[in-house]
Symmetry: C2
Subunit: 257 residues, 2 copies
């Protein structure tokens, strides 16, 4: 996403999160580091950098409360959310409100990077068959429920069997696990959709060529992603890899409620 923004010639300042962001990722870019809970300090750094649009990019996982590194403002925010029911998405919504109340503008990655969002239909030359369509339908049903419970965005289905469900391990680990769990016969399908009611400006489902490669290695038959709500990074490479591996990559409509 950083590469895509730079390719468009945008000036970029990265607010990197200690223990979360890979340091090599920001090495060549203007950046600053904060612990995840230092909300007040982060806002000051963004303002000092003259930030216009703020974009959330990359997965962030909440560390233990002990390691949040809360500053005064972070602590107030956490008190507002409540410790008990803290899912990733809820924190992000509250955080976005907080940034906007301070005069910053938070936009979605899809707002500034045109063309990343997938539309409806298959990206490459392969399409799901009837069996795959049935697995996709079951995956969407389960994915929506997982989202409502703020658990994860991805699920793998093979012939109606749920091979695996994503929680904090992330989609790549889920796919890797599915490789060891798959049954013989037609391979499974990865279904990745956003959480119902998810704050669109944070953590939209994303796939890239590494996702396609991992699915091919795991013996999956294809990937179904939510049309209008999933970012495809490096679309040409994604299509080439999927076509070569015989996988479908298909944007599907997911009902809002």
């Amino acid at each position: 996403m950083l590469a895509a923004a730079k390719a468009e010639g945008r000036p970029v300042f990265v607010l990197a999160l200690e223990g979360q962001t890979a340091s090599e990722l920001v090495a060549d870019t203007d950046h600053g580091w904060i612990p995840m809970g230092a909300v007040g300090r982060g806002i000051e750094m963004l303002k000092a950098a003259g930030t216009g649009d703020v974009v959330f990019a990359g997965g962030v996982r909440r560390p233990s409360l002990l390691k949040l590194g809360l500053d005064g403002r972070g602590a107030k925010l956490l008190a507002k959310v409540g410790k008990a029911a803290l899912g990733d998405d809820k924190i992000l919504s509250v955080l976005i409100n907080e940034l906007e109340s301070d005069g910053l503008t938070v936009v979605g990655a899809d707002d500034i990077l045109s063309g990343l969002l997938v539309g409806e239909g298959s990206l490459g030359k392969h399409d799901p068959d009837d069996l795959a369509e049935a697995d996709i339908a079951r995956g969407v049903e389960i994915g929506r429920t997982l989202g409502l419970l703020d658990i994860g965005q991805a699920v793998i289905i093979q012939e109606g069997i749920v091979l695996g469900v994503e929680a904090v391990e992330g989609t790549d680990a889920l796919i890797e696990r599915a490789a060891t769990l798959r049954r013989e016969g037609p391979g499974g399908v990865l279904v990745k959709i956003k959480k119902p009611g998810q704050e669109r400006r944070a953590d939209l489902p994303t796939i890239g060529v590494s996702t396609v490669d991992a699915c091919a290695r795991a013996g999956l038959r294809g990937i179904a992603i939510e049309a209008g709500s999933t970012l495809v990074l490096g679309r040409d490479e994604v299509v080439a890899a999927a076509d070569a591996a015989g996988l479908f990559v298909t944007g599907i409509q997911v009902p809002e409620s």
Copy 2:
């Protein structure tokens, strides 16, 4: 479970499933082998062995349709269930009805092995604290939903975060994965409950000393299981292991609907 039945002096015949049952498990016991889909043949073997009560024991995972080894009766049964929505539990219910329609009596493991079911409250000397109680409550909510979708029986929660959700990989693999995903701070909790409306005579949630040992290795703080619906195998060893490792093992009430 086989050992427990033998210890009670019951004569035992095991109908072992090709590709599912470990052969060393049945080596010292009167037994016969069938492919999972050979329903007619299995019923004949049970009758020929003079079987009184039939008990389902051990996890069974549906193989690919290609490997079911359906006989005529198995094929009819499968047509009745429908291929599309085949979860483990649905198959088992239909199978149990089929056995009973043939004059066999299917009973739950808890019906013949007294004392295996866990009651309410902690088995050993450790109890969940308030944080663990909150994680258990979230685990029960999620576990019920997973059950309604016929996905799995177990979930691991740490400070409100869903570390992992069980699908076909089974509880042991889930626990092992959680070891690598855990956050610092107070450890997570394993919550294992039956599926809402689950056929009680098949695949009741089960834990044993290996479950406790795995949880201890994964840095979890305890195990919450459904009172009245979870089998504890080797209770004395379970309590000793949990007490030694500082884990709680607690039977909890789960509302039926």
